[in-house]
């Protein structure tokens, strides 16, 4: 199913879609662009290549309350949270879409499935938006992602000649386009041929990297690589393929709620045990965990490197310690940029 809508008419589309359920899309929030729920007057920014924070929030929310509890005397009552409503996520770029597929492997395909994630995923219609211009930090070409195309999305959208072209790729996508039928015109005369977008190419040698890393846990290169790390969690929070979480209670003896929220392997308390023993006590162990997980552990289990080249860690790390540096350190070759 192919449809087209003029850009001027997009505000009507947003309004119509959000009347049927929450609609999330890239919104300009002061100096940054973030996926936010549409509301009247929101400044939609479809030009921005990458949002500051990835859309994983829609499926693995930074905070999700999944039960309430009530205690009365010796009794404990557990009340599960209500199921989430169907939503539309609009404007996901191909790198972020690939990242969601990486998360699916952990949260849906690997037994036991995580129902909280799975329901959100099933209830969300994802509209991918192809890139027209790469961000200076993008390097998804290194991961064989074509930023101009997004196979696998429910709907793939392209910004072309003042219009938005929409092509449904799944039944969910078709349903969505049908819902907005009144606003959309037939797009069968339009060219949906994905163009080609070139991102920066670090010339990373990824083939064989996971195998190569297997024996480099004790490599002295880690002693150097971690040094500039400040020990903050920016890289993990802006990473579309990071998925660690914490489970916490909020409340008092009589009642409260339990939620899960994002957590980061970069924090000291992440692995600290009740007795005080910490298997990953320092920045070196934690940096190694993060990069080994992306480049060796995850690939060993799921057959692919857990990075999509979105460039967020290159942009956001306050000290420019990013995954490209890690890959280069451990065998990926580099093309000098400056």
């Amino acid at each position: 199913m192919k449809k087209v809508i003029a850009r001027e008419k997009l505000p009507e589309l947003w309004k119509s879609l959000s009347a049927q359920g929450p609609l999330f899309l890239p919104v300009q929030e002061g100096p940054v662009v973030l996926f936010q729920q549409w509301q009247e007057g929101a400044k939609i920014n479809l030009e921005a290549t990458n949002t500051a924070v990835p859309p994983k929030d829609l499926f693995l929310p930074r905070e999700e309350t999944y039960m309430q509890y009530r205690c009365k005397g010796k009794e404990l009552e557990v009340i599960p949270a209500e199921e989430v409503k169907p939503a539309v996520l609009f404007g996901v770029h191909p790198c972020d879409l690939s990242a969601v597929e990486l998360l699916d492997k952990v949260y849906i395909e690997q037994d036991p499935a995580d129902e909280l994630y799975k329901i959100r995923r099933e209830n969300t219609t994802v509209v991918a938006l192809s890139c027209t211009e790469p961000d200076p930090f993008c390097f998804c070409n290194d991961f064989a992602i074509n930023p101009a195309d997004a196979p696998g999305a429910d709907v793939v959208a392209h910004l072309k000649n003042g219009s938005l072209l929409l092509e449904a790729g799944t039944d969910k996508g078709k349903t969505l386009l049908k819902q907005a039928e009144d606003l959309l015109e037939d797009g069968s005369g339009q060219s949906f041929e994905p163009g080609e977008v070139k991102t920066a190419d670090f010339g990373l040698k990824l083939e064989g990297l996971p195998e190569n890393l297997k024996n480099r846990f004790d490599d002295s290169a880690w002693d150097e690589l971690y040094k500039s790390c400040l020990g903050c969690g920016v890289c993990t929070y802006v990473c579309p393929t990071c998925y660690c979480f914490d489970v916490e209670d909020f409340g008092h003896e009589a009642g409260g709620e339990r939620f899960r929220c994002w957590d980061s392997c970069m924090y000291g308390h992440f692995t600290e045990m009740a007795g005080g023993h910490n298997p990953r006590p320092g920045r070196k162990e934690r940096i190694r965990q993060r990069f080994m997980h992306k480049l060796q552990y995850y690939p060993e289990t799921f057959g692919q490197i857990a990075c999509v080249g979105c460039g967020r860690c290159l942009r956001s790390c306050p000290v420019n310690l990013d995954i490209v540096q890690a890959i280069q350190t451990f065998g990926g070759e580099t093309v000098e940029q400056c």
């Binding site: 949260y107 846990f217 979480f245 914490d246 489970v247 003896e253 600290e272 045990m273 298997p279 552990y297």
Partner: protein
């Protein structure tokens, strides 16, 4: 369709509490209709006391016990501390079972050597009871158990009386230093294991205890010529989900909560030594 959120605890009730040592208590816990779930020796469960949260504990009882689950818990943190102040009849949250459990089928027909230290007897106890309940499946059983002092030995009655009475079974107790009224062995567990001079033939050694004890037990077993695939141990890591997702107990390609906590030494040697 009603879906099941794996993180959602079910209700369980404390039947009774036994004080084992000054800082270890055994809780007997029952679900709404008997056992909250089926499990295998070595598996764990997540117990919760809101608003303090959840923590993971190994199940001390054997699956052959159908009345309740038992947990021997040492007071070391927030949740374990709270579990020390529960009263009979109180409800707590429980979910599980988590982890792989001991390879009870692969152990069939073998002689077994259990080596436990302090609270480390908790997961072993599940397996030991299971083996006694399937006595004909297993060969000779040796149990080496030690603690800092006689007061720190858990399940003293059971260990000294019932276990020692089992056919084809030897129980060897030890404490770290001399104590009045203690007529058993004095010395650290690893040393005692070496002194007892166990033969590795057709034997599997299963050990659990404080990390430092495990370290030296492994050395002792190596000296006694046990090969890494004959040695089984359990790992302890911080865990939040229990289902291999939250990331805390990730070691190389495995998640201890899901792929462990039971590993042979051979498996362990292939993992990054971050535990």
């Amino acid at each position: 369709m009603s879906s099941v959120n794996v993180l959602l605890p079910q209700q369980a009730t404390i039947l009774d509490i036994t004080e084992e040592t000054p800082d270890i208590k055994t809780l007997r816990v029952v679900g709404k209709d008997g056992l909250p779930f089926d499990f295998m020796p070595g598996q764990c469960a997540m117990l919760s006391i809101p608003p303090l949260g959840e923590a993971i504990f190994s199940i001390t009882s054997s699956p052959t016990c159908r009345e309740c689950l038992e947990f021997s818990i040492k007071d070391v943190g927030k949740v374990s501390g709270a579990l020390h102040s529960v009263v009979p009849g109180q409800q707590i949250g429980i979910r599980g079972p988590y982890g792989n459990g001991f390879p009870v089928d692969e152990m069939k027909g073998k002689d077994l050597l259990f080596i436990g230290g302090g609270i480390g007897l908790a997961p072993l106890r599940s397996l030991i009871s299971y083996c006694f309940d399937h006595r004909e499946d297993y060969g000779h059983i040796d149990i080496v158990y030690g603690a800092r002092s006689p007061a720190d030995l858990i399940r003293k009655g059971e260990v000294k009386e019932s276990w020692a009475e089992e056919p084809d079974t030897d129980v060897h107790l030890t404490v770290d230093a001399e104590f009045p009224d203690w007529d058993g062995n004095v010395g650290f567990v690893p040393t005692y294991v070496e002194e007892l001079g166990f033969k590795p033939e057709n034997k599997i050694a299963i050990t659990c205890g404080p990390p430092i004890m495990i370290k030296f037990v492994l050395q002792a077993l190596d000296k006694l010529k046990f090969s890494p695939d004959q040695v089984i141990t359990t790992l302890e890591m911080r865990m939040k989900c229990g289902v291999g997702k939250c990331g805390r107990c990730n070691l190389g390609p495995v998640y201890v909560c899901k792929d462990g906590p039971v590993f042979t030494l051979e498996e362990l040697n292939a993992l990054p030594a971050e535990y």
